[in-house]
């Protein structure tokens, strides 16, 4: 393991970009945001290239980097950053999501563009803090700091009646995260009692959690579990999600579905699994059932939605159910498959919302009630949407298929019933995604092309290149899975 402080660039550069965005003139703000985030993506990939492109798990482990800074010695909080084969994927996804989000619907640039860009980069910073930190207090700070830009984004650029949605979003997420904090402090207090050095580093908390009496372990587990279950979200804890997704501006929705939800996945893999293996094992059946129910329940609701954003919001829950099914297998292979599928979900859901934002720019209102026949008017846009939709229903040959297949393959021996239930969710997934695409793309063209005005152009230029590259990535990595699996 190499000690390097280049990791802290992953935190400081977004902050720098944030400050810089306040200086950059309004007119070039979008270009600046996209350029800076692309640059950051390149840097992130470079930084983690040793891990990402390693041929075996052992090589990847050699490239893992850890970096420590003293921060709050009184509560044992260190700024301990770690880039390894788990966090590397999430950090890269984070940078990628920023690129897509900044390139999405341009309307928001009319209102305080500087603030928006700055918030976006702050989000990048907060998420990277959470994804890189090995220290639970610092993780918590990163985890919570994500709220600030998110609430501002929904609050300032969101649509009408956003107040109560934002309130719910805040209430539920905060409830979860505060319980997590309580759990962290509980573990810390155990450390004090045991007389050891106080440290909130994951490595020093694992033995503490392992030594807890059963009831205490369960309580602490539920603190963590609830926080991440709300963040993902799993089904009984999802009720905040729909309204926020629908009312948020497109970039914020992209951020939420593509990467904020991954905070929950990441937390579950990185913290809950090593901290509470026994408790998780006790409840494994229940957890897998919850994940499977998430898949089916959200799929049914998506099928019912006539609002494309709501439909995609539910579909996001449904697909994350698969991811969690993989996590809850509590096996190395299951977790790997889950990370794999997470990457797929990030790309696909970001792309879906991105393309939806492009459709939104080009048509009046988004409603799935009547067929609109837009695919003849925008063949390139709808071809892209179709391919992404196929990836979303995990057609073989896409990244999502390989991920979903491996997740289900690994969950089958653990809980066959849950896997079967989740499998039916996949059929429903095809049903609602087809409905989504068909209602917008097919049928007789109902809108008058002249009415569309200046926006009636098909996807082109930078956006086309971005979408094309992402789709290529989804397909290529659907076959070249070794980059994720590393021969494990």
């Amino acid at each position: 393991m190499e000690i390097s402080d280049s990791l802290s660039f992953l935190l400081t550069l977004p902050l720098f970009a944030m400050v810089l965005s306040l200086v950059v003139p309004r007119a070039v703000q979008r270009g600046y945001a996209i350029f800076a985030s692309l640059l950051f993506l390149a840097l992130t990939v470079y930084e983690s290239s040793g891990i990402l492109f390693a041929t075996s798990a052992a090589t990847a482990a050699r490239f893992a980097v850890e970096h420590q800074l003293q921060w709050l010695p009184q509560i044992g909080a260190k700024l301990s950053l770690r880039l390894d084969s788990v966090s590397a994927w999430f950090v890269v996804m984070n940078a990628l999501t920023a690129v897509i989000a900044f390139s999405s619907k341009g309307v928001w640039y009319r209102k305080s563009p500087k603030l928006f860009t700055a918030l976006g980069f702050f989000l990048l910073f907060g998420l990277n803090t959470a994804f890189l930190s090995q220290d639970l207090i610092v993780f918590y700070l990163g985890y919570e700091s994500v709220f600030i830009p998110m609430i501002f984004m929904v609050g300032i650029w969101g649509e009408n009646q956003k107040a109560s949605a934002v309130f719910r979003f805040f209430l539920m997420s905060f409830l979860g995260s505060i319980l997590m904090l309580v759990s962290v402090f509980f573990l810390l207090s155990r450390q004090v009692k045991d007389g050891g050095a106080v440290s909130s580093h994951l490595g020093s908390l694992i033995p503490v959690a392992g030594g807890l009496p059963e009831l205490h372990a369960k309580l602490a587990f539920f603190g963590f579990f609830l926080a991440f279950a709300i963040k993902v979200p799993l089904v009984p804890f999802h009720s905040w999600l729909k309204d926020v997704y629908v009312l948020a501006p497109f970039p914020a929705t992209i951020w939420m579905s593509a990467i904020l939800s991954k905070l929950g996945v990441y937390g579950m893999i990185r913290f809950v699994m090593p901290l509470f293996p026994q408790t998780m094992g006790t409840y494994q059946g229940v957890l897998m059932a919850i994940a499977a129910c998430s898949v089916v329940y959200a799929a049914l609701l998506a099928y019912r939605s006539n609002q494309p954003k709501a439909l995609l919001a539910y579909s996001s829950i449904s697909h994350l159910g698969f991811v969690m099914l993989g996590v809850f297998t509590m096996k190395n292979q299951g977790a790997l498959s889950a990370i794999f599928l997470s990457v797929g979900h990030t790309m696909v859901s970001a792309l879906l919302f991105f393309l939806l934002s492009k459709i939104d720019e080009r048509s009046e209102g988004l409603d799935l009630g009547v067929p609109r026949g837009l695919s003849q008017q925008f063949p390139v846009l709808f071809t892209a949407l179709f391919v992404v939709m196929l990836a979303s229903v995990s057609l073989p040959g896409t990244l999502n298929f390989a991920g979903e297949f491996l997740v289900l393959l690994n969950s089958w021996p653990v809980s066959t019933l849950s896997t079967v239930v989740a499998g039916f969710g996949a059929v429903l997934g095809a049903a609602y995604m087809l409905k989504f695409y068909q209602q917008m793309g097919f049928g007789a063209s109902s809108t008058d092309p002249g009415k569309q005005g200046a926006h009636a152009e098909d996807l082109s230029g930078f956006e086309l290149v971005l979408v094309f590259l992402l789709i290529m990535a989804v397909v290529v990595f659907g076959f070249q899975t070794s980059i994720f699996l590393k021969g494990n």
Binding site: L300, G373, P379
Partner: protein, 615 residues
């Protein structure tokens, strides 16, 4: 690399046509059907040539069950799972590959004429994509790769059924096909999981040689069969196929008659050693196959749409093939797949030619007397008709006869299956003759408008018809040696093949005679009806069930229960807020006092050691 080349040639055609399509769209030009069609067709012809070369090599190589193997790269490696992406070419695959590329190439050519004014590069794109996926299905070396092809052909089928996407009815049909297939696909997916759990491999060759526990073999076999019922339109998942006729007719010929729908037979034949481990599975397969054959044949007698008749006929013929697999004579099923591919493609293309000539009319009661006006179509259609009836020496005679014989004498043969199949054969002869007579004989019942410009199809359409007619005539002879061989192998059986041959000829004759009697005189227009109403039943139970479950969840859980929880928690927060609001007097000194009290509490704890921190 011949196999890889053969598989990827259609993909190349797909890519070229996609480029052509978008390039023309960007320049606001209609792509030329001839350019697109020739790109696609030449890709298919090249693939056919490759397939012939590979077949020749296969014939040349020695040993029992010679195989050409090509491995491309490792697809998925995780834990004990190793999935190689590669192709495997053996006799079974060869039969399917030759049909796909051969019949496929003909249909591509035919499409150039058929889609002249309605097609685009997009159409040929989809067609090539289909062929690529289909080849992956039959040549893939592992189950996931078969699954790739399996879902891929479903996708291509979806795109082609809904090709005329302005009509939402077409889209609905396409969606139905996709979703029903997806339900079946779930069976294959689960079967893979079981195979991996118990056999530890997903490689087809190794899986075929694996001995499962009896109960596992049953479940595995049933799941595989579920997948097959979806793709091959058997009970209970057959209702999508008649609707799939919404697509262009060449598509119906290629996908919904010759190739895709037979992939179920391929899978059963491929996994025959595993399937045969469970008698339950075999019984289910033969029963479902026979029932489907009968049910579809009955339904076909009541259809008035020329394509729907052929669609039900396809379902019925697929039932024959499944029954063959079920009685343990998979090679008879595969043989019938090949002959059926020839004559059913021919029938569909002929029907397409008729529809093309009549500018879109599909109702057989609005046709009649076309024998003179469409001579090429008539004669080639006649060949197809004779073949499906099983008249000697047409190909259908050999394959159908083989199935009937096997149903009686094979290891799991069963007189019931034989009886049902024989009756279905009778009905087949009846409804095909009915169709044949209604379209080509008697008085013309054409509408004024359609009748005015009836024209024989162009050469590019006629030529494939002629080639297929020849194949329907001659195709059966390839299987004869196999036929006789098996017949002799079952030497212990009491029934001689000759008896069955005579019987099946008799059946065909009786059916044809009845059909001719009934429809040669004055015609009474019959309304289309579905005597079994399965489709409506599914709509009422499954479709509405899912919808009402969704709206139940939506109304009572999502908008009801969870909203209520949110409201309650919101109210609790409000309550708490109001509670604390009373303390928020706005008087700075009040706040200060609270600070002092809090500080007091802290100090108290510190000094008197609450919680053990004091010392």
């Amino acid at each position: 690399m011949i196999i890889t080349l053969l598989v990827f040639l259609p993909l190349l055609g797909f890519a070229l046509n996609a480029f052509y399509h978008f390039n023309s769209a960007a320049r606001k030009r209609e792509p030329s059907v001839w350019v697109a069609g020739l790109i696609a067709s030449s890709a298919m012809v090249a693939a056919f040539v490759c397939a012939l070369i590979a077949w020749a090599r296969l014939k040349g190589s020695a040993g029992v069950g010679p195989v050409l193997e090509e491995s491309l790269f490792s697809w998925m490696n995780l834990g004990a799972l190793h999935v190689e992406f590669g192709y495997r070419f053996d006799r079974l695959s060869a039969a399917f590959t030759l049909v796909i590329t051969g019949v496929g190439a003909l249909i591509h050519f035919y499409s150039i004429g058929y889609m002249e004014n309605r097609g685009s590069a997009r159409y040929f794109c989809y067609l090539n994509l289909f062929c690529f996926m289909m080849l992956n299905l039959v040549l893939g070396s592992s189950l996931p790769q078969v699954f790739l092809g399996w879902e891929g052909v479903g996708l291509a089928s979806y795109l082609l059924i809904g090709f005329w996407s302005k009509e939402m009815a077409n889209i609905a049909a396409a969606q139905k096909a996709f979703l029903m297939n997806r339900i079946g696909d779930l069976g294959l997916l689960f079967a893979m999981f079981i195979a991996f759990k118990f056999a530890g491999t997903l490689d087809l060759a190794r899986l075929a040689g694996f001995e499962f526990r009896p109960d596992v073999a049953t479940v595995f076999g049933l799941l595989i069969f579920l997948a097959c019922t979806g793709k091959s339109a058997q009970i209970p998942l057959f209702t999508w196929l008649p609707d799939a006729m919404a697509g262009p007719t060449p598509v119906s010929a290629l996908i919904h008659a010759a190739t895709m729908v037979t992939s179920g037979i391929y899978l059963l034949a491929r996994l025959n050693p595993v399937i045969s481990q469970s008698t339950t599975v075999l019984l289910v397969i033969s029963a479902v196959g026979a029932a489907t054959a009968l049910m579809a044949a009955i339904t076909a007698c009541f259809q008035s749409d020329i394509k729907k008749v052929l669609a039900y006929s396809t379902i019925s013929q697929l039932g024959f093939m499944f029954a063959a697999c079920g009685v343990g004579a998979a090679e008879a099923g595969v043989f019938h797949v090949v002959t059926h591919a020839f004559f059913k493609a021919l029938l569909f293309l002929g029907a397409g030619s008729v529809i093309h000539a009549l500018s879109g009319t599909q109702d057989v009661f609005k046709m009649g007397g076309l024998r003179k006006r469409l001579p090429f179509t008539f004669w080639t259609f006649t060949a197809g008709w004779a073949a499906i009836l099983g008249l000697f020496p047409f190909s259908g005679f050999f394959s159908k006869d083989m199935i009937l014989h096997e149903a009686l004498v094979a290891a799991h043969g069963n007189p019931w299956v034989f009886g049902v199949l024989a009756f279905s054969a009778l009905l087949t002869a009846f409804y095909m003759t009915r169709l044949y007579v209604l379209v080509f004989f008697g008085e013309s019942r054409l509408s004024e408008e359609a009748g005015s410009h009836v024209h024989e199809s162009p050469l590019v359409m006629i030529l494939p018809l002629v080639i297929l007619a020849v194949a329907s005539l001659a195709g059966g002879w390839f299987g004869v040696p196999v036929h006789l061989e098996t017949a002799h192998g079952e030497g212990a059986s009491s029934v001689s093949p000759a008896v069955i041959m005579a019987l099946s000829l008799l059946i065909a004759g009786v059916g044809a005679f009845l059909g001719y009697r009934k429809y040669s005189g004055t015609i009474q227009v019959e309304a289309t009806k579905d005597p079994f109403r399965v489709d409506e039943f599914y709509g009422a139970v499954v479709g509405r069930g899912v919808k009402s479950l969704a709206s139940f969840f939506g109304r009572y859980l999502e908008d009801g229960f969870f909203q209520k929880i949110l409201q309650v928690s919101g109210a609790a927060v409000d309550l708490g807020g109001n509670l604390f609001k009373t303390v928020q007097t706005g008087s700075a000194q009040g706040y200060l006092l609270m600070m002092v009290l809090a500080l007091l509490g802290l100090m108290f704890g510190l000094v008197f050691g609450v919680n053990g921190y004091g010392n």
